[in-house]
């Protein structure tokens, strides 16, 4: 921001520029303020009010109720807390599976596409990235078709003599399913105690079979985007480093494990952060595909917040859920930052100092 000091004689031009600066910024400031900053202030008020959707919540149609909406979600005895806990459980399993899977798949695709010996890499890269640019609604519609009881996926499984489940309509949790496969069908009494209105046993259900469809969908649509991030970083790793490791007799796996992955750390960090932020917000797919069904096992906080407000007209509760979700995203991001920073014993790597001049950048953009 500094460093722009103009000589005295150009003062008039300078002040003209200052006015122009505000003039140029004005539309953007008004829009951002109106639709990003003020909404948050308004929603904070609504989240501590009893607004029922009628009239203007800022001129008397709503009353201050303190932390009641938050309390109902966190300590209340009713359905509100149970639904919120259910949505947290569902989304937590979603995050737990999608983030590692999409990161590993994206890294794998990037390493594969970055290998110069392979033919048709450009086409493959296009294929991997294409799902990322299409609409989440369209992809969800396609996946609903692929995952019907007698759909394409179950046909494929049929060739392997596996009888596929009724995917999107199956509310059974996969951990429960695995346990019942070894004969455990009902929980020991110890797991019957409720936490946040939901039995420990229910917390441990794992993602439902239906939720697994959305997990596959998420990996399918996001891996291409993250592949591009990894690819850009891979092309910055100098070929000399790779070659000298090869000379030293390192196998492909050793090179990946001990050279590529450590050098990709900053990108890995970015991908995981973006993944965490994105996966806690899953909404479009749920709205299009399941509306939280079956048995509320695909309910997510984002969808619950929408439903509470627009369907149940419980605007205070809807806004409170949105803020709790915001808090979760912030905490998760900070937590991940701490964990990854602590393990980074090698200190900071000045990225700009990397010998990128020798990196094989040119001639391979498809």
């Amino acid at each position: 921001m500094s460093g722009i000091r103009l000589p005295r004689r150009r003062r008039s031009i300078h002040s003209g520029q200052a006015a122009a600066g505000w003039l140029f910024m004005a539309p953007a400031i008004v829009l951002l303020g109106l639709f990003l900053v003020i909404p948050i202030a308004m929603a904070l008020w609504v989240s501590v009010s009893d607004w029922g959707g009628r009239g203007n919540p800022f001129t008397g149609a709503a009353h201050f109720v303190g932390g009641r909406n938050y309390a109902e979600l966190l300590t209340g005895d009713g359905l509100a807390r149970r639904d919120f806990a259910t949505s947290l459980r569902n989304n937590a399993y979603y995050v737990l599976l999608v983030v590692p899977l999409q990161t590993v798949v994206a890294l794998g695709l990037a390493v594969l596409v970055n290998r110069k010996v392979l033919r048709g890499r450009g086409l493959a890269r296009t294929a991997f990235y294409f799902p990322s640019v299409t609409s989440s609604v369209a992809i969800t519609v396609v996946f609903l078709f692929l995952f019907t009881a007698s759909g394409a996926v179950n046909r494929l499984l049929g060739y392997l003599s596996i009888e596929g489940p009724n995917w999107i309509n199956d509310p059974r949790g996969v951990v429960h399913l695995a346990l019942s496969a070894v004969g455990v069908d009902s929980p020991p009494a110890a797991l019957r105690s409720p936490v946040l209105g939901l039995d420990v046993w229910d917390w441990l259900s794992g993602p439902s079979v239906a939720m697994c469809v959305f997990i596959v969908l998420a990996v399918f649509t996001t891996s291409g985007t993250f592949m591009l991030l990894f690819l850009a970083a891979l092309q910055n790793i100098s070929a000399e480093v790779e070659e000298s490791a090869q000379v030293d007799g390192a196998t492909a796996w050793q090179r990946l494990r001990h050279i590529t992955v450590p050098m990709l750390r900053p990108t890995l960090f970015t991908v995981i952060t973006l993944g965490l932020i994105g996966t806690w917000q899953v909404f479009d797919q749920i709205y299009t595909g399941s509306q939280g069904a079956p048995g509320k096992t695909t309910l997510t906080p984002a969808y619950l917040s929408y439903e509470a407000s627009f369907t149940s007209q419980e605007w205070g509760r809807g806004a409170a859920i949105a803020f709790l979700l915001f808090a979760i995203i912030v905490v998760m991001t900070l937590l991940q930052r701490m964990v990854l920073r602590e393990r980074d014993t090698g200190g900071r790597r000045p990225r700009r100092l990397r010998p990128s001049a020798t990196a094989p950048k040119g001639g391979e953009q498809a």
Partner: protein, 308 residues
Amino acid sequence: MSFVPAQTVSEQAAVEQPVAGKAGSGKARRGRAARHKAASFAGGLLLLVLALAYVSPFLISVATSFKTTADATAHPLSLVPETVTTAAYRKLFLNSDFPLWFANSAVVTVAVTAGRVLLDSLAGYALARLPFRGRGVVYAALVAVMAVPSVVLLIPRFLVINSLQMYDSYAGLIVPLLADAAGIFIMKNFFESIPPSVEEAARMDGAGPFRVFWSVVLPMARPALITIVILSFQGSWNELSHFITASQSPELFTLTKGVAQLSAGALSQGTQYPLKLGAAVVMTVPVAVLFFVFQRRIMNTGAGAVKE
């Protein structure tokens, strides 16, 4: 689209010569080369299988949209319809609100894209080149605003739209989407990368700030503007949650909202898969065209929006 000229195996072997030399014996060299060949064959096969896996949902969608409903249910994997029928598309375009949704999506997307190009470049230029008091604060606020997750804004934004009496209008669909902190950021970075000497010259000739911006700087900013166009087009064409919260009347349905409703509502009244998949295919076409036209730019910047 272009094939990447693959390095031939013999070239690869030549690069590896010192390795084999170090290993010492010709036998080891031959063994290594053979292993290399096998590895690259396996890699190629893996690449092919994965690429097919990523493409097949789209191929199946296109194929199914030309099937009869019975055929679609009976042969969900087949890429060739038993009898090719355009019934799904005829119903979509002649007997449903689909053309209206398409038109609404087009109107919103064009308006949002045009608006963002103008506003983002104006603001980006001010942040990069026009020294004004409070610029640092504005910049910091911009970064802070970018960090707010969009889903959190779902309900808050409805409250503002409602208060401004923009609910259920084109303005309500379009104007809130014009606020684009990330785009301003991209434009600012671009303007900072071009040398200021050109502007200085124009300024010496007595051109005012707007004149300098409009006739000197903006024409130079084409690459960055194309990036904004791509991101805005894709973002607003694929937007769903904002449209859900900003309108309710059927006349204002966009493709995303309409098709989502089609998908949800039709669950109870028969499957109609060719119809739904036809709708999904048609709504994918404009972004697909954009993607293939600007493929090189999209892939190089890695600027594709992250999906949630």
